[in-house]
């Protein structure tokens, strides 16, 4: 008869051997390198923290003079009358960002899938280059294009939306006479809708490049497995690539949101300021925090500067929150294992 003989395990506590601590001693040059780079990291960190601290300290003056409650609920912005608040500008920033995302997210997903799954060889390289180039084009260029060309060409479409879908509250436009044979195009210019579409052009490349990165991590074996089971290309994309890229997609959308909230110059060029809470996106008149700062900084005395700082602080907190969330989602969906050669 054969029996399985179990080896004797030491009882807990019987063996008090402890792993030897291996001391790491860095050579003097390495010490210098480590300390220098640590100092650089410290400087960068200090700079970044300083921005937040400075914004907070400077806006205390303005916020305390109107009171936090009024600062959050006031729509107008006239620091000279001591009456200002973020109730109109903050939703304005969010509305533009949401319009931009509505346009940008489907296009980015499509472009990213086109690059990773449909295009091959030269076409893929060309498209990747196009997306990178799109990110490199200054926002001013998109802004002037939107102001001088796109706005005049999109107004008929906005009219169409307002005419047939005006019963949906967000597409409603005040002051439109439906029986008027010659509609007034000026009612539809400088709106959230137009500014949002232009901002979407700046969001698309950021989202696309992050989505490309996450889609291309979908395992080859499972893709081929899907094909082997008889899936069509779209079936494979739906059942393998999209589920694997979900985390990256959510992160990319959040990152795009952060970027859209802070976009300044293009919005500044297109919108005409109107300080009220509204979600009628097709209507003339809009405002965002960033565009307001760019418009108002010039007239600033110390107090109105402090008021602008408080608006900047609100934007800063919002974008930092969005971006922290985005980067934590992206880093969770990213495995670092594939960098080992």
């Amino acid at each position: 008869m054969t029996a399985t003989v179990l080896p004797d395990y030491p009882e807990a506590g019987a063996d008090d051997a402890v792993a030897r601590k291996v001391p790491v001693i860095h050579a003097p040059t390495d010490q210098v390198f480590r300390h220098t780079s640590r100092a650089a990291g410290g400087i960068v960190l200090a700079l970044m923290v300083l921005i937040g601290v400075f914004l907070t300290v400077n806006s205390v003056d303005a916020i305390s003079s109107v009171g936090v409650g009024k600062w959050v609920t006031t729509q107008e912005w006239s620091p000279e009358n001591n009456s200002f608040g973020i109730a109109a500008v903050l939703p304005g920033s969010i509305v533009i960002a949401l319009v931009a995302l509505t346009v940008a997210v489907p296009l980015s997903i499509g472009a990213a899938l086109f690059i990773t799954e449909v295009a091959t060889g030269r076409l893929r390289r060309l498209m990747t280059g196009m997306v990178d180039l799109m990110a490199a084009v200054p926002s001013l260029v998109y802004g002037v294009w939107g102001l001088a060309y796109f706005q005049t060409h999109v107004v008929p479409f906005a009219e169409f939306l307002a005419k047939y879908f005006g019963w949906i509250p967000i597409f409603d436009v005040r002051g439109v006479d439906p029986s008027n044979a010659l509609p007034n195009p000026a009612l539809y210019t400088s709106s959230f809708f137009i500014a949002g579409i232009i901002v979407s052009l700046m969001v698309i490349p950021i989202q696309t490049s992050i989505m490309v990165e996450s889609f291309s991590r979908a395992p080859q074996g499972e893709k081929e497995g899907a094909f082997a089971l008889g899936a069509t290309k779209w079936g494979m994309i739906r059942n393998v690539v999209l589920p694997f890229g979900k985390g990256g997609m959510i992160g990319a959308v959040m990152l795009g949101l952060g970027r859209a909230l802070g976009e300044t110059i293009a919005v500044y060029l297109i919108i005409s300021p109107l300080f009220e809470i509204k979600f009628r996106i097709l209507e003339n008149g809009a405002v965002t925090i960033a565009a307001m700062i760019a418009q108002r900084y010039g007239e600033a005395n110390d107090f109105s500067m402090s008021a602008l700082m408080s608006a900047g602080l609100a934007l800063f907190i919002l974008t930092m929150f969005v971006n922290f969330t985005a980067s934590s989602i992206i880093s969770r969906s990213r495995s670092g294992a594939d960098s080992e050669g």
Binding site: F33, G41, L45, I51, A111, L140, W145, R259, G262, F324
Partner: protein, 436 residues
Amino acid sequence: MTHTIDPTVDHTIDATPQAGRVPTTVLPRETLPPLEHEPDRVRVGASQHERYSLPGAVAAALATALLIGPVLGMLGMGWVPLLTFVLFIVYYCVLISLTEDKRAVTDRFWQVLLWSTGALVTGVLGMVIAYVFVRGWGVYRQMDWTDLRHNFITSDMGLAGPLSPITEGGVFHALVGTLEQIGIALVITVPLGTATALFLSEVKGRFARFVRTVVEAMTALPSVVAGLFVYSTVILLFTKEQNGIAAALALTVLMLPIMIRSADVVLRLVPGNLREAGLALGGGQWAVVRHVVLPTVRSGLTTAIILGTAHGIGETAPVLLTAGVTSNTNWNPFSGPQTSLPLQALEFIKAPQPSFVTRGFATAALLLIVVLILFTLARLIGGQRAGELSVRQLRRRMARSRRDQGRVESNHDVIRHQLELLRAAHSLDSRGDHPS
């Protein structure tokens, strides 16, 4: 697939070394008849029906849209592209469904949509760039390229009034401003950014992770907030005026996180075993960074810096708050307002005169050209993957290796000489210790 070996044929190979030849490994080869190529049972590619359905659907959709639009006058000309697209998708799906099942139709539908998004994104980008060039072209067409002192690029707006023709005035002051501001920003950003990126990926630790988190969040710092920060610190506390250095600092605040992030991404791609090989050879951490990591990522790091520069050059909002507007050339970034290219383009475009708007588009076109040049440069340099070398780099490395060979050999000679001396001394010693 296996081949049966015919036992009647002699498969032995003559591998006896021959005099005068460098001995090499000779792989045994069998003499077998070539494989016969079987005819394909399945032909890969689209069927005739499928090949014709795509152009057919396009033609039919275009024809219907033209019929509904201009011919019958039911919709304006502007609707034709949109209508064509929608009809094309419908027609194409119908055509495919004649021969294929539902899954194949879904597949084609989504593939067509993916192709369209690719085309749309490229098309819009092309349209934006082309529009700016076309609108700005008037200035460059009328520009006297032979007059090198008074054309659009080499003169400033100091003497040009609102009614001056397009041929007068230019953007030299803005060009100077852009170059100086971006130069100062790069002088600060490149060393600080590279050192921080090295800290994040080479030194590591809890503090490094914290710095990385903060830097990643800061990449989305709204550009106008960066401008506001510099305005309230540098301008209100120290300089008391808008000037070039304040603009440069605002650009620095914006470019720093972006550059650190992209450098960090590049550094993370260095294979760990390269680093470990360096350490195993006895190099310290700095030696490994200096001789292994940095040379490996050189092209990636350069690309990161160039793209960061392109990004910084186009930033308008922070410069708007910090640089100040002037029409004169100001060489001194430390005193007085110093306009940069994007800011000048913005000022031109906001002006009511058509000639100023045209100048604005010309300035934006110039900015685009600068960005395009930087972008092409980045693509050319960044085309290499980390650790792969171009022919010239390989040649340079070979030359260095040859130089090293001499040094190594002379070192060998020295060591051999010293060994001989030691041995001689030792034998003398041993003779002295044990006298016979």
